[in-house]
Symmetry: D4
Subunit: 252 residues, 8 copies
């Protein structure tokens, strides 16, 4: 049974064409998400890889190509995260307008008309080595329709630059703070602003940083309140949360 | 030097009463947070225990009494988290209007005039055993001036009740989802709504739940995007973040 | 809307008493589990504490009493796991026929008519100290309608007694093997029989047993195939799985 | 002494050809598994690599070739798991009919006559990246004589497809549910069916997934009861357990 | 079938009183360990609690009393480790000659005739806080018939005393070295002697000692070769190994 | 042989009273630390419990009393760390001038003449709950002859007070920075001064702080350079290192 | 606003050229570290990568080249740690006088005039495999202006050589002790000298050394007091701390 | 001072050629291990890499060549463990009689005259993949002068073969049992014999075996007593301990 036919099913019951027993049986098996109005399941699926945004890592290039083709048949945007050059080459076979961002490993096909970027999300990072994670966050947030300002460490100025741009920080509806090592940046940023802060621990560091666990634990145990944490190196996840916040404020 | 006198200092320089060298020396030592306009340091201090909100655990009852007395001399609200009955008794000696919430272990003195609660935060939990963490979140959020709806497991219905109240969920500006064991609730909730979700892992469970680490890891690795995580059992931290989000939307 | 009224809803649509739009709206919010036929959600809820089987640990005695009262209003059996004496006393106030098994910490109210126990589940344990976990499994399995044979270490004979009862082991449809320390029993049992084996690691031991993690890891890495593992000390969980297996075979 | 000669040994004692002392000495050293009737030890050995099923990882191609040759001298089926292409090439030298399944890394020689596949095992996975583990399970189960249905994520539909195939799920005697990240699939499946569910955590994910530990912990702590867990990425182990269940039901 | 009757069984086959089929069936179920000559299973059982040496922790006082009674019916020595005073009181009811060593928590009934202690085992410890573990090792070793010399830290001298007794160390057939904190003693001792050294990490320490894991890891990674490690605080285990070594040398 | 007689031994060789062979034999067994000049071994022993400073935890009150008596027979100061009231009571029996500091759990007998405190060590802590660890450090440092300034969080000001006392910080020869939760204080302090900083992680916090491991990891991974870390809650260890630094500078 | 203009700003206020409001606004945003006198932020930044010392790992060669160019425009020394040959090649394009130390992976440009090396730091290591970490420490310390003596294991003598050079050890103001495996060297050294010891655990070893965690834990739990620990393999961090100590003593 | 001159020193004191003060000063710095008689330090050094046995991993080929050359100048045997082919090639330049065992990664130069192998050590392993670790143990033990019997899994028979060779096992003075996965072999062997057993966990396995930690924990928590454990994959360490045992028995 086609899920969009719930309304039709009810109407056929109303018209006496379907028995209540048939309708009952059909409904008992009907997935919640198939109910016409409920787009939520598609929404929820974002990260799991079967709609619009696809985690490419762990999938073969051919698999990603198939998924991209299917998504682009029904939609006009495809965002692949953690994509390799091999993923890109396969996808480019079915979408010649595919673009590949090498450092953040993002694979993008965007055929939508120009849209105004809404609100304001700041993506901050103190260390150059955290930049690829920050870019995953920034590009993902832009693809989701948000206006994004990058505050990366360029050259010598670190905390300096952060504070020099305090006006930018204070205009943000949400801030994504990316940091490795002991992961202190989000805590610092949270103390400077009143908007929500999304902390992204990175695997940058060595020794007892345990692949980012040290930064993750530091952020979870931060004194500063008003922040929350996503998985290690999960720039996309931070963008998805910041986008929810920013879109709500921008549309309020 | 009294931090609020920055403006006065500058004026005395302007009036020629202070030398630039004296001003320079004073400024070189002036903490950033003492600058009049910058309330942020107080904001940042919230969780660390030296302003308004105090983590009582690890402090002696006498220490908490001293802190409460000092805070209430300058302000009209004191919120103590993880407070014991002994903490309450000592604080009641200096604040007869202190209230104690036993299960969430909250100690509250609130002398503010009645204020309208802003916006809408939903605090959800499926399991009865997670309730004390959820209450820490809910009361904290209310003290911070947010309108809060509780969606706790009452009786048999769990997911049932959640879905039955989907209208409530969809009206929220932010949802706090509290869960122990495998920690699946936040992921489920995130899939049902478009507002940001703050996930709180609890230490409820046994065996390989590792004091809440299993729930924490589950939430960090959730497929659903649009959520972030605070520390295990950290109801207050979730409230602080949800409050930031809700206040921004409500005031937008 | 009352979930059991799905059929009625459809009938009122069929009778023209409800509009299809009203029905559509109701259905869009209707939890899957509320559909009459689908007992699965209740089934799934077993362990989460809102249906028949309640994990008492982490809940106050009053909370458990309320839950028990509600369950017993609609049903005739209540099984509480990890219950304390205090839980029992409160529940006994609303169910004078409540029984308490002290060592396995089980709280049981069973008002069902005598039923024949089906099939055959063996619960085996080599060490006396594992017995309370094994009893949680055995009693739970019995409450679920299975015939259970206990093969506990009584006195000196361990492996001896196991092998002496190899006929019993080979008649089982499922075996629950409970073990602490290095957790070798399930692997041994799996090698002796052809039925499925459910391994339960216990927290029995000391030092680097890490609260049962050593036994859990040992079982997960066992050479023997044909077994699977539940959480540390989770006798109930093992019973639930063994019951599913045994009921399927017995009813096949 | 050849183990199959137990019966002969007894007969030679009966005929007075062997002294009871000789028989006693022989028996004192006779491994249990060598007793003719007791095939169980061979069964137990399955995963350890000395009978029919061989874990190729960690063995050199030459070693695997030797083992395969020896197994195929006495039997008509050889199943190698976690085999590399190099393993395959060596084995193909002694078994030209060897087949290699690249993604699940399975090496198979099957010279048995066509046999009907018994019962019904469903192998389910939501994510494309979990597929190679699922295939290890599915092919292993088929080799063991079970009828297998694959419910993999093909394209966009995930939960959707699962629910759309709920009839298939409900016809299964056992379900193998394979999942990475937070590992929620088995819990979801367990709530939908009444047959036993074998959960396989995979190492798919990144950051704090800890090589599959996060999924493993999630499954061990799942609210749903009626499931058990095998080692991370252990598709074969899941198949072995599911096969035991399915064969018992099918032959009951 | 009574296991000691293997010889009889063979003889009845020889006499033609039992059919070979009956004998075959009996043997197929006969546990290996029951074969008269093979005392090994009893040997192996030592630590698991069903023969002579019983780990009391995790067992109720009544259970230990039952086990002690049974052991003492057939033998003349009972050694209980990790026993509480409550265990002792119960056992004293059935064995008035039971002795209790409070600090090492050992419960002993020894009715054997005086025997000469063989060979030489040294039990060394640098820290006073490790003494209870060392005593568990020393008493256990003595009960097993070994001559034991204690080299405990008495007063100020630590390494001093160790070196002052280097003659004693060099006369030992085996040395048990007990240490907490960073666990360096066994490594030091191993460098001073040529006999085997059994290292026992203790849970003494705090902070990042992780309940003895730090000492355990230190010992496993020691530069010195000629030593091996037992479980944290496992004085008995060390004694059992040292006893095997000492008995072999003494009887060589 | 009495170690202080090395010089005498050599002299008796010089006088021809001892043969070179006897001297050789004696020397072969002479512990290095016993050589008259070499006080280092006593120094090294400080923390291990057999000289002057005794870790009381894990020792019985009677054992500590014996050790204290022995130390005070030869010296005029006894410092016990992690002492309980019971330890104090026993020691007071043999040293009526013993003092007990309850919160830092320090037991002190100091019969030395008044000495000038040398140099300058600052002990800083932001949180009230870290105070007992800081006091262990401060008192220990004072007992070792160092001038100590405490910069504890008193009342509302945290970072504020730290910065307000920047002159004090800059006058220090060494700073001990004590912190729990994410452990950011030492990193902050290190950035403000040019003297060495000793970081002490505390077990203050909850949830994923893992008993201080989070703070420890944060400090080990800190961006700031010029600091090092001691064990969790190890105030004494920090004092011992800071004392070495301060004494060197003060005496330079 | 240029940070060095604070004095100018104050002077322009004093001259009435700037309004107090403008000055207030400027100051509210002025980073603390920009205040002329306060070099501390630059100091603190050392390790974070934006001043003089740059952690190259995790940065692309081009990024490091840009940073080096910028640093060398304003200064005359650039120190890159954990640099690859690719990093070196890029930097050599903008600094032909760049030198590369392959084993310790150090990239150095030093254009300063010859300066006398101050004080005395000893870098000790017992194992050849720890040498690259020790060299990172030694070269870093030299670049920071300290006199450094290396005590590496050359050939057969280990502890031998250490003791043979005890005079050198005792002349040091600070000792850096580098060790892998169980990490016992720093504890040994600390017992031989009275100066502070900085312990560097290395990832040398295998099995349960857990990438250096075993050595780290051993050092944190060492009996010897007077030492502290830096991150695994963090030679530079040890040098920075030892330099602080040595410079203080040398300049006292 | 040359350590072998202790005797000479004493003699020169006896002859009055050296003053007692000079002798005292010399002795105060004399390392214990340099005292002529005490070979123990060389013994202790075995594993650390500066005497006869060298852990090649982590050392450059050139470094190993230098060490080998130096060792072979003074001795007639060089044993390198964990050596790569590159190590071998460099060593072959200075020792043309060097042999390389590829799988166990052993590098051997043995110029000693034929010696009778003493006693009896059995090296057992059930899985083919554990063989390289077992060979490291076996060859090391042989180099140390022990007679070694290998009981490896050849073909199908595992436990079978072990039991079939029970006579061999019972003739051993020490058994090295090597196992991965759940690490059950040593426990099984310990139950079959009365000699000491050295357990070697291997990193063989996958998923939650955690690189051998699962096997290590299993062995540490084994019920069987009479065994101890060395580091993961540490075949050499097991050989060193077994050699100590075997030599003692053989020479008793």
């Amino acid at each position: 049974m086609d899920p969009t036919t719930l309304r039709e099913l009810l109407e056929s019951v109303a018209r006496g064409e379907a028995s209540t027993q048939d309708a009952f049986d059909a409904l008992a098996r009907l997935p919640f998400g198939d109910i016409e109005e409920a787009k939520v399941d598609h929404h929820r699926a974002l990260r799991c890889g079967f709609a619009e945004v696809v985690l490419c890592e762990g999938k073969s290039p051919s698999q990603v190509r198939s998924i991209a083709r299917e998504i682009l048949e029904h939609g006009d945007v495809f965002l692949g995260t953690r994509a390799s050059a091999a993923h890109f080459q396969k996808v480019a076979q079915v979408a010649s307008d595919a673009r590949y961002f090498e450092e953040p490993r993002i694979l993008l096909v965007d055929r939508r008309a120009e849209r105004p970027a809404l609100g304001h999300i700041v993506v901050a990072t103190g260390g150059t080595a955290d930049q690829h994670v920050a870019e995953e966050a920034a590009i993902s947030a832009e693809v989701m329709g948000n206006r994004v300002t990058r505050l990366y460490d360029v050259g010598i100025a670190g905390v300096h630059r952060l504070l020099a741009h305090i006006d930018v920080l204070r205009e943000a509806n949400a801030i994504i703070a990316v940091a490795g090592m002991e992961g202190a940046l989000p805590s610092l940023v949270t103390g400077l602003v009143s908007c929500p802060v999304v902390a992204v621990p990175t695997s940058v560091g060595y020794g007892a940083n345990l692949g980012g666990i040290a930064a993750l634990l530091g952020m979870l145990n931060a004194c500063a309140s008003g922040m929350a944490v996503v998985n290690i190196d999960n720039g996309f996840g931070a963008a998805a949360l910041a986008s929810r916040i920013n879109q709500m404020v921008a549309k309020a």
